[in-house]
Structures are given as structure tokens and as C-alpha cells.
């Protein structure tokens, strides 16, 4: 696969923008359209762009961890946020508990739905990147890299 200089240069500044946008979409998901799933898809698409531009090895080095680790940690965070209500408050599973006393600037109120969304985002990023890496890896194995 011959690397395109234009695509590589554009990717270097587009990937941070798309990742920032995904975090923005994640954080506004409580009151407006958005949320963990869309944010995760955006982040995964940023890494897919990196795969197109630099190849699968560089993208895995950029990600740092295996996508399966992302899936596991995301499920763990989501489960933990769902279990807070029944363990500490005696309320049904997945009841949303918010900290009403203060607001973080830019994020808003903290609460279990935020952490549930972060977990969903990690799971979506992991699953999508598993698919992307598998497809791109198969492509490179087939001798597509001319």
C-alpha cells in the first residue's frame, strides 16, 4: 500500500479534532443528542482514518492497548456504575444517582449515567476497532499492499 503524503498530513491534524469531537458528543449526551455510542463510533472512525493513512501497525501503536482490553474495561465501568444504586442506596439496578452539590465546568453534574456512557463508549470503540483491525489485517495479508 503506497502511502499518500496528503492523507498522512491531513490525518495528523484530523485525528485529534475527531477525538475531541467524540468527547464533546459524549459529554453532551445527557441533555442533547449524543452519548456514548455516537462518541465511540466517532473515536473509532478517527482510528480507522489512521489505519487508512499509516497502516494497521501504526494505528495499534497509537491505540496502545488491545481493543479487547477496551471492551473489558468499558463493560467493567458500566457494570460498576449500574451497581452503585443497589449497593449503596438500596434502589433498583441502574438507577441514576447524581451529585447535586457541585458542577464541574464543561462537564456538568457528575453521576452514574456519565460513567455508564463512558463505559459504553469504550465498548463501542473496542468492538469497532476489532472489526476494523481484522478487516485491514486480512486485507494486508491478501497481498493488497502493492
Amino acid at each position: 500500500m503506497n502511502r499518500s503524503l496528503i492523507l498522512m498530513t491531513a490525518t495528523r491534524y484530523l485525528v485529534p479534532i475527531i477525538l475531541m469531537l467524540s468527547v464533546f458528543i459524549l459529554l453532551r449526551g445527557h441533555n442533547e443528542p449524543g452519548g456514548g455510542f455516537v462518541g465511540g463510533l466517532l473515536a473509532a472512525s478517527a482510528f480507522a482514518l489512521y489505519v487508512f493513512a499509516f497502516g494497521i501497525k501504526e494505528a495499534q501503536r497509537l491505540l496502545g492497548v488491545h481493543p479487547l482490553a477496551l471492551i473489558g474495561s468499558g463493560l467493567f465501568i458500566s457494570l460498576g456504575s449500574a451497581l452503585i444504586a443497589p449497593i449503596f442506596f438500596g434502589e433498583p439496578l441502574m438507577t441514576g444517582k447524581w451529585i447535586d452539590t457541585f458542577e464541574l465546568p464543561g462537564i456538568g453534574k457528575l453521576g452514574t449515567p456519565l460513567f455508564f456512557d463512558i463505559g459504553v463508549m469504550l465498548v463501542v470503540v473496542g468492538v469497532t476497532l476489532l472489526i476494523v483491525f481484522a478487516l485491514a489485517g486480512e486485507d494486508e495479508q491478501l497481498g493488497g499492499g502493492s
Binding site: I17, G34, L42, A48, F52, G144
Partner: protein, 94 residues
């Protein structure tokens, strides 16, 4: 369509912006159907996504709803990935 009480903004929206976008969609589809080669069709699809961004922006302006601007931003940032994928496919096939 034009009626009394329609100000310049509505006139511009109804008679200029929306018709321009719609005609562009028609021409893109003509190129998509008739396009002699695969790159022609890919450029047509890419142009359609650009028209979609324009339509979302026009809708956001017309309805004073800023949510659609964020959607347009995301679509504009993401759709070129599909074009890159098609280009990669053409590059690999030849």
C-alpha cells in the same frame, strides 16, 4: 409558495438555497447512474454527502435549531472516510 409577509430571508431560502441543493442532488444522481467509470460514481457520492451537509445547515438556519449544525459538523468530518475507503479499494484493484 411566495406569499405576503414573507421576508427576504424566507424568499432566499425557498427560491434560492433549497432549489440549488435539490438540483445538485438531481445532477449527482445522474452522474451516479450514468457515470462511465467507478471514480465518477465515487465523486458523485462524495458530492451527495456535501449536499447533505448543506441541507442540514439550511435546515438549522431555517428552524433556529442549532442541534443540526453539530450533526452537519460530524457528517462533514466523517463522510470523507468513505471516499478514502473507495479510493483505497480502487488503488488496490488496479
Amino acid at each position: 409558495m411566495i406569499a405576503f409577509g414573507m421576508d427576504l430571508f424566507d424568499f432566499f431560502m425557498v427560491w434560492v438555497i433549497v432549489p440549488a441543493l435539490s438540483i445538485t442532488v438531481v445532477f449527482c444522481f445522474i452522474r451516479l447512474v450514468r457515470g462511465p467509470s467507478l471514480p465518477d460514481r465515487i465523486v458523485a457520492v462524495d458530492k451527495l454527502s456535501g449536499v447533505a451537509v448543506g441541507m442540514m445547515a439550511a435546515y438549522a438556519v431555517a428552524t433556529d435549531n442549532s442541534v443540526f449544525l453539530d450533526v452537519a459538523l460530524v457528517v462533514a468530518l466523517i463522510t470523507f472516510l468513505g471516499t478514502i475507503g473507495f479510493a483505497y479499494y480502487i488503488d488496490r484493484r488496479s
